[in-house]
Symmetry: C2
Subunit: 319 residues, 2 copies
């Protein structure tokens, strides 16, 4: 089976499109890798790229791209509102299909090593790839930013995993495996932000709710309704259907109804089918073989998805 991964590299360039086009060129027109999104933010002076594909091809693409970023971005002159420490600032690597977490962590070590050897940029392994507790959390690594790197790396506690001193113009990079993050919102028929926030508090981890739900309340001013806005940080363990049903259950207390739900961005097909199996009364291990159109239909029916189409399913781009 093909090993499919997603990468979401963040680059410290958010204004000059010409430069960014050069940096992401390695993701274009190649077999086995697909550039999905380029988001440039001028005030952050930062770009976030989403690309997916077969592990080997993605690796070749990102190593190439990291080399171009190190050549074309000068952190010495970079200014922007978002904290940053390198030209390629952070590289999250996400297992999508046919590759488990352990393999993906191993892959992150290989990619980190290749980037370091190509560019000389020191590498911190972070998130699930962290080799030390202090490296689990990106903001801790990045504290002090590019300007503070030289001092920081003198402290043995903050020595990079690869390399010993910052790259003079490209700084340092954090590379690591993390889970796919599903951005999922549930619309209610209530205009009370206060009540919907109470619902959110009850379903989220910090309030005693589900382990992998982060949640808050947001008002949609144009429609005068509130939604529970969520991140599912491990959809394999805390599933979409659990988030959806838990919100319905808590809303009942206030006589509030759930009217729809929406995926923000993209979602792996497996995240949908595993929850559809719940509604179809199937065991977790049973195979559910749906094409993308059928998946969309059933998600609309059971999870009340709105503004959804197969273009929001990652597998659409793997065709």
């Amino acid at each position: 089976m093909e090993k499919i991964i997603e990468i979401v590299p963040n680059y410290s360039e958010g204004k000059n499109r010409e430069v960014m086009e050069k940096i992401i060129a390695p993701f274009k027109g190649l077999d086995g890798i697909k550039l999905l999104i380029l988001e440039m933010d001028a005030s952050y002076n930062r770009s976030v790229v989403t690309a997916i594909g077969e592990a080997e091809a993605v690796m070749r693409g990102i190593v190439e791209s990291a080399g171009l970023a190190a050549e074309l971005i000068d952190m010495g002159t970079h200014r922007g509102e978002h904290p940053r420490m390198g030209a390629l600032d952070v590289l999250p690597i996400i297992p999508i299909k046919g590759i488990d977490e352990k393999e993906c962590i191993e892959l992150s070590y290989i990619i980190g090593k290749e980037i370091h050897e190509k560019t000389g940029v020191p590498v911190y392994f972070y998130a699930k790839s962290a080799k030390r507790p202090q490296c689990e959390n990106l903001p801790d690594i990045r504290k002090g930013e590019f300007e503070g790197l030289e001092e920081k790396m003198k402290d043995s506690f903050w020595q990079p995993d690869l390399g010993t001193i910052p790259h003079p113009t490209a700084g340092a990079v954090a590379v690591g495996c993390r889970n796919f993050l599903v951005a999922y919102n549930i619309d209610t028929d209530s205009s009370s932000r206060k009540k919907v926030l109470r619902i959110a508090r009850r379903v989220r981890f910090s309030g005693g709710g589900y382990r992998y739900i982060q949640a808050g309340a947001a008002k949609l001013e144009d429609r005068n309704i509130c939604q529970v806005t969520m991140n599912l940080t491990d959809y394999g363990k805390t599933a979409l259907y659990q988030a959806f049903e838990a919100v319905k259950m808590e809303a009942r207390r206030y006589g509030i109804n759930v009217t729809a739900s929406e995926i923000v961005g993209l979602v792996p097909k497996e995240c949908l089918t595993s929850s559809l199996k719940y509604y179809l009364g199937m065991d977790e291990e049973e195979e559910l073989d749906l094409n993308l159109d059928e998946t969309v239909e059933l998600a609309k029916k059971f999870l009340l998805f709105r503004d959804f189409s197969k273009q929001k399913i990652i597998e659409y781009y793997l065709g």
Copy 2:
């Protein structure tokens, strides 16, 4: 408002009733403290006592009782199947009413100090009262048991919080504040342990479920049905109604129905009323003023409690 706490001291004597009666005498016939349960286990050679009452009175009682345990139990000759390190082996202190966690932790420090001063027995503060990460988990402290204490305390990592060497006959004691633990089981109409275990996995923390639910499946052989058997380790954050509704929701997948639920042991009234407010459509902060009979009635109605009476509510004993 009165500060009500529960203590669950464990003593290393489970065979000699005469000795245990002497040790628990300080809990009897005194104002402000009530002995609820004495469970003696001969093969463990260990007794577990449950007492509740006003904080000041409970403190006087347990310090007295710890002194008697140190006099009457000789760990040098103690044999039993349960791991143990002291005559009074562990003293959990649980906030019930009118006292918050912070105050209860402070109280545990005072009680530990008084026990140490009275008996000379060294004290480890554990659970929420732990002052060092290695002391959070009781089995880690107790590892090596009474016989290994002298060696263990030579290691600075395992120095007690109070005292420096083990008491020659009474060993050491762990004292700490923890949450009230609600033992809660939900009956299903299914005889399939496999399916009910799947439900349990989905609702428990380790499987991605609710933060403060531990759960498994148990078969009731006489009735040929299975139940989800649970501990709620912080009912203020993960409530009874959430456990009950989550099990119903997961059971639906398999066409399984929830037929009843039961509290094992005792439960604070607040644990019930906070969940009844959900079913009555009340806000969390609204006052719900029920007497014990009304509380029992509504819990049977909404949570399908079986074998329940006001004698299972802690407040029944607070007169």
